[in-house]
Symmetry: D2
Subunit: 353 residues, 4 copies
């Protein structure tokens, strides 16, 4: 499929925030999608994007976006595809209304992630979960609309690093995260709180990291996902880095597994067709580093355009009787906007759009 000559129009909800900006940046020059509608809160609506948004990424907002008028949350949107970077409470009503109105909503919000008929898509590992959109249409009487979410930014590297290891029988996983400040949006974390500091708490994060990967790694069973039968425990901390969430993972398997088998599983892992050929898919979803001190947050977060999960330091874990390793992914790319875009690409190719 080639959309280069006739790009699909897309809208961005919450376009002025930090994740909204990442959507705009990643969609700039996208071969299939063209950003034509920018939606934000009443405070911003009616102003040009350049006036409404304080651009917090490097450089500038793309020129053609800068001049666009920001639309209000209740606007009638024309775009078939709607990306959402809304806060969860606002997402709850707005996303539903848009799916009902026939739009395909690809959301970064947590509002519907755990709903039985909504998938948390990470295309390389669960592209088949997209079928839940048909269930939604049946359940709610929607015709062309649908709702797909991407995971919490910390759940992403956890699920991606564990997915290739499913064949070994994942029974339990312990996760300790070291998360970037961009995960909290803008203005987000005050500098007085985080310079020269570690804050070992992120509100609402640990329950998500203990639940979402189990759904993402679960099995489509007719009209719902059967969650992976695996116990998870998470400790989430904030550290003074800008982008990139590092997780230390210890995992117990049903089977005895060798180091080589795990490395091979990671290196050979690839998504099902058509995922590897999607515009935003990285060359390799899981990149294994063999150096003793990798992955590192700053040096590895842009691997695969920020869409890869980088793993390393695989060693036996005597406590779990299994293995432990480090995994890292870019939290606002793979863990947010980039994944949502990849999800939309998948839905286009699978015919949901």
């Amino acid at each position: 499929m080639d959309y280069r000559h006739k790009p699909l129009d897309v809208a961005i909800l919450g376009a002025t925030g930090a994740v909204g900006q990442r959507f705009i940046q990643l969609l700039d020059g996208h071969p299939w999608f063209s950003v034509v509608e920018l939606v934000a809160s009443d405070r911003s609506a009616g102003r040009s994007y350049a006036q409404a948004a304080r651009w917090v990424l490097s450089g500038n907002a793309p020129e053609e976006v800068a001049g666009r008028e920001v639309l209000p949350l209740d606007a009638d949107l024309q775009s078939r595809i709607v990306f959402s970077a809304l806060p969860s409470d606002v997402a709850k009503t707005v996303e539903w209304r848009l799916a009902e109105a026939g739009h395909i909503v690809c959301s970064n919000a947590s509002a519907y992630r755990m709903a039985p008929d909504v998938p948390i898509l990470l295309p390389e590992i669960n592209a088949d979960h997209a079928a839940l959109i048909n269930v939604q249409r049946q359940n709610h009487g929607w015709t062309t609309g649908g709702l797909a979410t991407n995971s919490n930014c910390t759940s992403a590297p956890v699920a991606m690093a564990l997915a290739p290891l499913r064949p070994f029988g994942i029974q339990a996983a312990q996760v300790v995260s070291m998360q970037a400040v961009s995960g909290a949006g803008y203005p987000g974390v005050p500098s007085l709180d985080i310079i020269d500091n570690v804050v070992p708490f992120i509100g609402g994060e640990e329950p998500k990291v203990e639940a979402e990967p189990r759904k993402m790694l679960g099995t489509l069973a007719g009209d719902h996902i059967e969650m992976l039968d695996c116990v998870m425990s998470a400790t989430c901390t904030r550290v003074p880095v800008l982008d990139g969430h590092m997780v230390a993972v210890s995992v117990r398997f049903a089977d005895s597994v060798s180091e080589d088998a795990i490395i091979a599983a990671w290196e050979n892992f690839t998504g099902p067709e058509p995922v590897p050929g999607l515009p935003s898919a990285p060359p390799q979803p899981v990149v294994v580093r063999s150096e003793p001190d990798r992955p590192q947050t700053r040096r590895d977060r842009d691997t695969g355009g920020g869409m890869a999960t980088v793993v390393g330091r695989l060693r036996p874990c005597p406590v779990m009787g299994g293995w432990k390793f480090l995994a890292m992914a870019h939290n606002t790319v793979r863990g947010a906007a980039g994944c949502s875009i990849l999800n939309a690409e998948l839905l286009v190719e699978r015919g949901y759009v």
Copy 2:
């Protein structure tokens, strides 16, 4: 015992390095000890301390230290007590020679920590291990000499947080650390490696954190320590903070334990006599914070003059079937120089000096 009117002379080995400087800072105005000998490598020997050492802590070296001549490693020392901040390979020969020559060596080096007749002292939790000094004297024919170590800087908060929980039957513990750059000494970690970064590897650290706490929490059995029968697993990372090592700990107990019981164990924990009255002992060895986002590295590292271990965020760990929490201690105070000084105070009171 009151040494105020006749302070004991002490020497510092490796006095020009980062931990050496912390020794000098903490001993400035100490009620019992007076720094009269500063020892460093040949490069520094013969120069005044002010010339030889690039002071990396706040402010200045104390004036009376600044003017002292630095002695070479093979100097005949007059001080009864010798504090060592030497690198491990140098410590191996120098510390032994000094113990043999009759000095009480309180060392921060790792060289002898795991030797059967050398204690890793953390006075609040294992003051009785000091008796190994008698074993040393018997084993090596020493008369007045002896050798006591303090633990690795990350082992310290792990052991201190676990010690009050020994009655519940510690069976296994998982540790993920977020460590400060001062742990690597000076010049230590290049800024290009750590600003806006997490480096998930510290050479030689994890084996120490998996072994030392088991010895520290072990039982004196005649001429050696029977290590605590507990499986440990550690992942050690470096984060962009100056001082203070944070550890995320998950622990499994033999018994079923309540949250209240753990909190009470921590809050009521205190060292045996004479530890609580020693000059460098903090008012409370373990300080429990009840806020959801504490301990924090920068805001809590100076608790109890940097000698307390601050714990918080106690929650059940579904994977371990036990509990998880955060603990934090100042790595160059409680985890290095401060602990060595407390050890020396204990040895004085117990009559080994």
Copy 3:
């Protein structure tokens, strides 16, 4: 004068903010003053201080403060001395009302700094400006009330470093600042804006730095201050440091001056009686560092309990035909709360309280 046996009651306006907290921290154990009233916005009033304030400094709020009820801005205060850490717009009405009601208001706000009959006190350099309080009383019919301000946090090290050089005829000064994030209060500077970044703009700062030092260094002329006849130019930037404002200063003198003369002027500088003996006065107001790489923000900001200005790197400035140097002071101590407290001590000793 000795207030130890009967401390004076003081109130703190804006007690829950970052500067308010610094007031509380510095007044904890103060020999003359006892904090008995805590005032904040309506949002906080009626709650205990511990509930109303998110403590952002190290450790905890002092216990006796933590339990106190926060009073509303329109409360009738009993304290003779009122410290103000209010935002400037709120300060405008509240401070005036309190001075009118007979309180001595020592304010960190900018609202009245440039008013003709209000002094910007930096006791070591312009203690005589306190006499303007008498002018206020005459102008406004106040009896026991009065209003004194301290300078902007960047003006403080500029004025302090220049004051000893007044005898040489200061004609012009260029200032470039590198300021800490704590200068913006809490939450203040978002971490996404300042980690790995320099932001070369601080709203409203440059005009203050170009005006306030000239008033502080000016001459009391009856009922007003004659400003120092000196041209000033400022560029103010924010850098990723927590506390401490560094300024690079180039100055042109009327006379030809030697390096030795400047060093001597700094080292011999001392405030007029009774300033050197006040509880919050540092041993030396200006501390000269002779090392090539000092002052440094982190290593020197606590000099003299954060009340000293540390200077160094004096070299000729070929462009100004004069001299250039670096100066640094702790922005929330000497540049804010600490200076306000010193001002109050001066006013007590001079009989205005």
Copy 4:
């Protein structure tokens, strides 16, 4: 000229260091140049690049470089063009020997910058200085060899921002820099020295910043450069940022100049032919930002692929009687490797290669 089908071989001296790595990164995929020789100290020579170099930039060394053997400093090089990232003392002998042997040496080292017959090239502002290579050949009897330098990393944005203003008669300039840690190479600045700190001293830097721009902005006068008749004064500081040097500049002109005239001069500034079309030339050498808080180091350092100088905050300077502004450039791209590559491109097009 099109070298795409037959790229020129180039060598890199000091290839394993931080600037050497930046050369490799920027030359990866270069349309004209192909890296075929990597040279480093004896410690590295004989090993593969991957083994010899600890890659400190993001991601990895390009694969075809990683496998190459590192050559010793005295190797006979085949490449016509040699880029040098050597320390200045080593550069002194090695660069001369290579120029003598017929190579075109484009050096980032300071060793020969101020030599009368060596240009400090910044192609947009002084491409004609390249003619000094003919002078070198005459002076030293070289035939095909030659030596061109790029400036110190802080001199680059100063010279670039001032160049468009030469027509107004630059008489004096004051510079205060806030420099990134990457300017000191690797390992370079210890993290203990710079986290939460400003270090107001960089050895040898200020004299360079006071001299080099005057040469770069000077006039070719036969066999040497007549330096710009302008007084300069510099204060150089290190701040906790990774890349990008910010400078605060105040300048006095012979003529009275309007704000609009300066902005126009910057925006219309462009290099002489063939500079704008060179592969490494940015679309605009000087980019003017109109926002009140720009340029910012992190957000603007990659402008024009790191080759632009970004300026902003133009305001009158009452002390200089002229104007003041901020300028920022990427120190290891425009201020080092990137500029050297642009210089080589110029020398190719001008026929010196």
